[in-house]
């Protein structure tokens, strides 16, 4: 509860701070402090010191896992603020509002990690989404940003409609919105006894596939990620997406939420298609930003494995994956924002002019590609391991790794441009030392997690 309230409050504070000061660095500072307070509050609650006790009437249920996930998300946001804070300042005039919206998103995330019924789930998703529609369109003069925003909004609302239809059908079949109660009612074999509940779940499932940008409901992703201001793409494609996944798993982890035998089939279909679309389409991109958008689709394909296997390994995996993926993507975007030219050629020769940027970017990209010794490897490792453990057909796992290999192709294109190609990568701005330090720190964290993922896992079991 701390997280929800504090993040909402932080949002309000940020909103108001815009009135009192115009100094953007102050606003940024306030936001970082607010975030730290938020983290502290959440950690306190994790260890049983809930300062605000509210009876949620069983609408919210705070689990350890959810709180840990909150912390992870907040830390990722912290990293995001550190690395991209400057870019947020430059994104437009309404800096305070941007921060406020980000905090509202975090509020949505906190709800999504603790919902105990479809109502809160729905509200969480909406609180998560609405600020994003705005952040996407925040570069008002830019037609691409406008377009992205409208596309996102229209398609997002459409998927909300689908989700609501699903919820209504589930309610019709069970008379309940609660996860637990619904569970009891549908614990029998849905094939024989009911149709509306599974169909409803199918709708929710589809809308969640949409939210986590899994194929064939991914179409919004490339356009939106490409059109949105880079700094917010970074936020959307990492923190928000991870939260979406957590909600997705949280929603479907109870066995009773079963769509029947075809459940796995549909999921398999979605996984393969997502990997296919994400990886294959990413290859032909010229813009690194758009490539990253597709790559985020392909990463979603991997993350879907956690849903497929839905065992403890999968849950551990989604944590590691979140950290690995978020840190790396935030880093890559933070560097991308500094570049003048977002195409692959824009990276040519970066290693010569900016060795630190090039090196850290390499670490991030290796992590995204899932090369061992980086956190990304363990992310993928857990996903595959959980799938194998859950008895997935080996073919599926093999397909996944083949696509992982394909993904190397486009990630390494960036590395090749930076290190092996001639050119002078032009930057927008001078790169401050603090930024470089932060990058190195995060690269080190990624490598450390890549070597000792147990440190993160042990903390989960603490």
């Amino acid at each position: 509860m701390n997280a929800i309230i504090l993040s909402a409050l932080a949002g309000v504070v940020m909103m108001l701070s815009g009135i009192f000061t115009n100094k953007q660095s102050v606003i940024k500072l306030v936001s970082i402090i607010a975030l730290l307070v938020l983290i502290t509050g959440n950690v306190l609650q994790t260890y049983g010191h809930c300062s605000i006790q509210i009876d949620t009437k069983n609408l919210l249920a705070f689990s350890k896992a959810g709180l840990y996930f909150n912390t992870l998300i907040f830390i990722s946001t912290f990293v995001y603020f550190i690395l991209s804070g400057k870019a947020i300042e430059k994104a437009g005039v309404n800096v305070a509002e941007y921060f406020a919206l980000i905090f509202f998103v975090l509020c949505g995330v906190s709800i999504l990690t603790s919902f105990n019924g479809l109502l809160m789930f729905f509200l969480g998703i909406e609180i998560l989404s609405i600020p994003l529609y705005i952040l996407t369109g925040s570069d008002k003069r830019n037609l691409k940003s406008n377009e992205a925003s409208l596309k996102y909004f229209l398609m997002g609302s459409f998927s909300t409609g689908l989700m609501l239809m699903g919820i209504a059908l589930v309610f019709g079949a069970t008379g309940n919105f609660s996860l637990n109660a619904t569970g009891q009612k549908t614990a029998y074999d849905v094939l024989n006894a009911g149709i509306l509940a599974p169909v409803g779940l199918l709708f929710i499932f589809i809308s969640m596939l949409f939210k986590v940008s899994a194929a064939p409901f991914h179409f919004w992703t490339p356009d939106v990620y490409d059109g949105a201001p880079s700094v917010f793409t970074s936020f959307m494609s990492t923190i928000v997406k991870a939260a979406g996944f957590y909600a997705f798993i949280h929603l479907f982890e109870t066995k009773s939420y079963d769509l029947g035998p075809s459940w796995k089939l549909l999921l398999t279909f979605a996984i393969v298609l997502t990997l296919l679309v994400g990886n294959i389409t990413a290859i032909f991109q010229h813009s690194v930003k758009r490539m990253l958008a597709y790559s985020s689709i392909s990463q979603a394909g991997f993350m879907l494995f956690s849903l497929y296997s839905s065992n403890t390994l999968a849950k551990e995996g989604i944590f590691i994956y979140t950290v690995a993926y978020s840190f790396a993507t935030i880093g890559v975007f933070a560097i991308l924002i500094y570049l003048k030219d977002y195409t692959f050629d824009g990276y040519n020769g970066l290693a010569k002019t900016q060795p630190v940027l090039a090196f850290t970017n390499t670490v991030f990209l290796l992590s995204l590609a899932g090369i061992p010794l980086t956190a990304g490897f363990f992310g993928k490792y857990f996903m595959l391991a959980s799938a194998v453990k859950a008895g997935a057909p080996l073919m599926l796992v093999i397909v996944a790794v083949l696509f992982a290999a394909i993904s190397v192709y486009y990630y390494f294109k960036v590395i090749q441009a930076m290190y092996f190609k001639q050119g002078d990568a032009e930057l927008n701005d001078n790169v401050p030392t603090s930024f470089k330090t932060a990058l190195i720190a995060i690269a080190i964290v990624i490598i450390l997690i890549g070597i000792f993922p147990s440190t993160v896992l042990n903390w989960l079991y603490f």
Partner: protein, 476 residues
């Protein structure tokens, strides 16, 4: 404790190397480090004390993976090979000029650490880690310091091997969940009781990785390109040590775990290997580029080793183990020659060379020794390995041995072709002003030559070193 030293000395040396500024300091530093590792590895082969040959520490308790590294006969030998190879390479290429010298040597040393890890790990996940760890520095080495087409070629190499290792990762997971104690340790894997289907699944998943790494026909096309385009120092490591990873993997991580599957797939794999042996030999005959020629020759040799492993005869396996070492030494010798020629004359084309024996007699003589080691002449080290391997293949299937035997004729053809075109005849424009090799190359080639002859006459120490390992593999 020794295994840990073997891995971490190069790691630290490599990291420090990145920070060094002066070119000569870096070279000296790398050489010193490789000598220390060599000394350690000599210590390793002489000790049998379990306290010093085994190191075990918690790594990822929740996954069932431990940091377990240990030395057995086979790894002792390969560790020695790695240590010797790097020392030789550093000595031989000491005069080569590299931009960003510090980074080059740093990456080389990291590669060494990775290779050591592969040979020492007795935990499968750790093995996989080192497997990849060895690859990444090589990717950068080849892409930054390689030839004209380096980027595309190295990338192909990387993707190719990466695909393979991902298959292996799936295989590792597959076996991992079959182990009763959910552990990655070699012993758990060895204690697996698998059905034939399970063995075949695991075999196929692992073998793709190993087959690509070796490489066996028809998965070999990355190799000549990669060898040709890489900086020679890296090529030496690639072909001298790195290709042994695949063979090592099959022997250590497949043979004892999935014997039934090995038996079932023995024939097709051996046929492929033998085809590859002849195929590569025939192509080598037509090669004009020294590096490509050596590359194809290496493919042929590796193919034979692969066939020998799948004959599942302990004599052949012993041969393979010995040959891994010997082939490593020999092929590095050949690369040193290729490097010496390229560095001095600026060309590797046989058609542009000739008569070098007139101007560089020392190089000529040493090359002839390497060449005859390459054709496995008796009293050179390669003979012993090939003799034992052929014996094993022969026991498995006479016709395969006979067909594979054709390669000893073809090997003579292409190797002597190379020697002839480089050294014999009258000097041509490229070789007119050549001078004989410098002391570094001479020293490293001499060491190689001495190793070739000594191990060719007294192979028994090497056999004794690895005997027990072979025995254990078949006991399981």
């Amino acid at each position: 404790m020794i295994p840990v030293l073997l891995i971490f000395i190069p790691v630290f040396a490599g990291l420090i190397s990145f920070l060094l500024k002066n070119e000569r300091t870096v070279k000296g530093w790398a050489l010193v480090s490789s000598l220390i590792v060599l000394a350690t590895s000599i210590g390793a082969i002489t000790t049998n004390n379990p306290a010093s040959t085994l190191f075990d520490a918690t790594w990822l308790p929740s996954l069932g993976a431990r940091f377990t590294v240990s030395l057995d006969g086979m790894s002792k030998m390969l560790v020695l090979l790695t240590a010797v190879a790097f020392t030789l390479v550093f000595v031989a290429t000491n005069k080569n000029e590299y931009k960003h010298t510090a980074a080059f040597y740093g990456l080389m040393l990291l590669t060494q650490a990775g290779l050591m890890g592969v040979f020492l790990a007795t935990d499968c996940l750790l093995f996989y880690f080192f497997w990849e760890f060895a690859l990444i520095p090589v990717y950068f080495l080849c892409s930054i310091w390689g030839g004209k087409k380096r980027i595309a070629v190295t990338f192909k190499f990387f993707i190719y091997t990466f695909v393979g290792s991902l298959f292996m990762l799936v295989g590792i997971l597959y076996l991992y969940f079959l182990t009763p104690d959910q552990s990655f340790s070699l012993n758990s894997f060895y204690s697996l009781k698998l059905t034939l289907t399970q063995q075949c699944n695991a075999f196929l998943l692992f073998f793709i990785a190993f087959a690509i790494k070796m490489p066996i026909f028809p998965l070999h096309t990355w190799q000549p390109d990669a060898y040709e385009q890489s900086p020679t120092a890296t090529t030496m490591i690639l072909s001298g040590v790195m290709v042994k990873m695949g063979l090592f993997g099959v022997i250590k991580w497949l043979l004892p775990i999935v014997p039934l599957a090995i038996n079932r797939y023995a024939m097709p794999v051996m046929i492929l290997s033998v085809i590859g042996v002849l195929y590569a030999s025939l192509i080598a005959i037509k090669q004009d580029d020294v590096k490509r020629l050596i590359a194809y020759s290496s493919i042929a040799h590796i193919g034979l080793m692969c066939a020998a492993i799948f004959s599942q005869k302990n004599i052949a396996l012993e041969g393979v183990l010995i040959q891994m070492f010997n082939h490593g030494i020999n092929v590095i010798g050949l690369w040193i020659v290729a490097n010496a020629i390229e560095q001095q004359l600026g060309t590797r084309k046989l058609s542009e060379l000739g008569g070098l024996a007139v101007t560089a007699p020392k190089l000529a003589i040493l090359t002839v020794i390497m060449a005859f080691a390459n054709v496995a002449l008796p009293l050179t080290n390669a003979f012993i390995g090939e003799f034992l391997m052929f014996n094993g293949i022969f026991q498995y299937n006479i016709w395969l041995a006979a067909v594979a035997g054709i390669s000893i004729i073809l090997a003579a053809v292409y190797t002597l072709n190379m020697v002839q075109k480089i050294f014999y005849g009258n000097t041509v424009t490229a070789t007119e002003k050549a001078i004989d090799i410098d002391n570094n190359v001479f020293l490293s080639l001499s060491i190689t030559a001495v190793l070739i002859l000594v191990l060719g006459v007294f192979p028994q120490p090497l056999i004794d070193l690895t005997k027990s390992a072979v025995h254990l593999l078949f006991v399981k």
